[in-house]
Amino acid sequence: MTPRKDLLDIASLTDEEIEFILSNAVPFKDLFKRSVKKVPTLKGRTMLTLFYEPSTRTRSSFEVAASRLSADVTHFDLDSSSVVKGESILDTVETLEAMRVDYIVVRHKQSGIPNLIAKNTAASVINAGDGWHAHPTQALLDAFTLREVFKDLRGARCLIAGDIQHSRVARSTSLLLRRLGMNVAYLAPGSLMPKGTPEEIPCFGNWTDALEWKPDVVYLLRVQSERLEEPFFPNAAEYHKYYGLTDARVQILRERGIYLMHPGPVNRGVEITDRGMDYEKSLINQQVENGIAVRMSVLYWLRPGAE
């Protein structure tokens, strides 16, 4: 497969590239069973994480992935850096360029920032979430996880529930799952249902209707606590009652053998309960483990300076 320089979104990947990333992630995951869990593939390269939005999971997942490829990992500490003092993003990129960093993992609250950075550096840029736009490695790890469960994704049904409107996870994952032949539906309060949803995606306003659609997987989105103050939600308890995965709904999933996913971190008591977290068909931990393998696969494929 021809290497690419950057991974900015799912839409720009070809079907062959998606298949390449997902199938290579399988041997990377096999490494985790070995006594030495790393390979020398990226020895001597440097990966830097540049997170303008707080993140623990995604960042550490990338860091573990790069370490297992023997790359050196460093973090650009934005809280204490000159960014606080007003340095522009492109000035920061110029600094990183001078440090001869090979891979830059970017998260930013504004859509399009990773693209801007990618245009201004020879390093490979990976989008780790930009605004409402995209989170391609999350989508890839979700697809990888589902492929471990369902041999063939074609025809399988995934119900994505929660704040669809503000979710880059929903956007990227939904796009990728549909490209792989899955049926996707949304469950959200009207205020959080995106306008202009493609016609092939059924939109539900309550669990009863959504479960009648007979999903094979329920993918819960995180309720972003900062939005709880916005007028989209009355309050956490109300959200939980109408749109969260209550204990009663966990029981329905159990009876029907429906799998459960969540990109993490979870808000217990809002979109999910303690029992939901202990649900035996939850794939949440599997998603975390697979995230490392998929990110290794992405780093393996990208090449700094490629066309």
């Binding site: 041997p27 096999d30 390979v39 090449r303």
Partner: protein, 244 residues
């Protein structure tokens, strides 16, 4: 460029066409081994020049530049001979782990395993390794190779391991395989079996077991074909395709 194309199958050789059936361990080959060689090749001379005009190795392919070195039965004979030697040099070991290097080292390991099982009471284990992640030339390759993954379903700690590959040339593949193997565990001993030994080593690595030694002409490459992978059993010498 060619030097860097490593662990390699595509480098330019240095010497004129020449091949020999002599085994590295001719001195210690048993009567059985010699009988096998006579039976298989009917040719007692250890050195054998191979060329298009040699009646033993007629050119049977459509490509006039491609020369057949081993056909199905002589390839089977070479494998059997290697298996005999492995048995001899591993006498007293209860277990032999054969680990094939992707791609064509894997069918070689399986075939050696089958032969060894018919010759010896030792337990024979078979695994495979994909050395891609350990290659020293990954960053120089135009295309990123698809990973096949390694499959070693047994512990190699204290194991008696024989790495199997179809051709040894520069020795870079074997270097990568050794590095990977040591990340799986700590074997008691590691040996190397190859079907074809071709001069051109770039590392101090030598095989313990050799099916056939070949010294092809410059701009030629050795192509081993296994039925499981290629639909045919044969060893050819053919013009090397330009490096991709």
């Amino acid at each position: 460029m060619e030097r860097n194309a490593g662990p390699g199958r595509s480098e330019i050789p240095k010497s004129p066409a020449e091949a020999s059936f002599e085994s590295r361990n001719v001195g210690c080959i048993s009567i059985l081994g010699l009988v096998l060689i006579y039976q298989l090749f009917g040719y007692p001379t250890p050195r054998l020049h191979v060329g298009a005009s040699n009646p033993l190795f007629p050119t049977v392919t459509n490509d006039p530049q491609q020369r057949l070195l081993l056909d199905k039965s002589s390839l089977a004979g070479a494998v059997r001979r290697v298996a005999v030697e492995i048995c001899q040099l591993n006498q007293g070991h209860e277990q032999i782990a054969l680990i094939g290097i992707h791609k064509r080292g894997v069918p070689l390991a399986r075939r050696l395993a089958a032969e060894i099982q018919s010759l010896s009471t030792a337990e024979v284990l078979v695994g495979s390794i994909d050395i891609t992640q350990y290659r020293d030339d990954l960053a120089m390759m135009k295309m990123v190779p698809k990973l096949e993954g390694s499959d070693i379903s047994f512990s190699i700690d204290d194991a008696n391991v024989v790495i199997c590959d179809e051709v040894i040339f520069t020795g870079r593949s074997v270097r990568a395989a050794l590095d990977e193997l040591l990340d799986h565990g700590r074997p008691a001993r590691v040996q190397l079996a190859v079907l074809v030994d071709r001069p051109g080593r770039e590392f101090p690595i030598q095989p313990d077991y050799v099916g056939i030694r070949i010294e092809p002409g410059p701009h030629e490459r050795v192509a081993v074909r296994f039925e499981e992978v290629d639909g045919q059993d044969a060893v050819f010498v053919q013009p090397s395709t330009p490096a991709k």
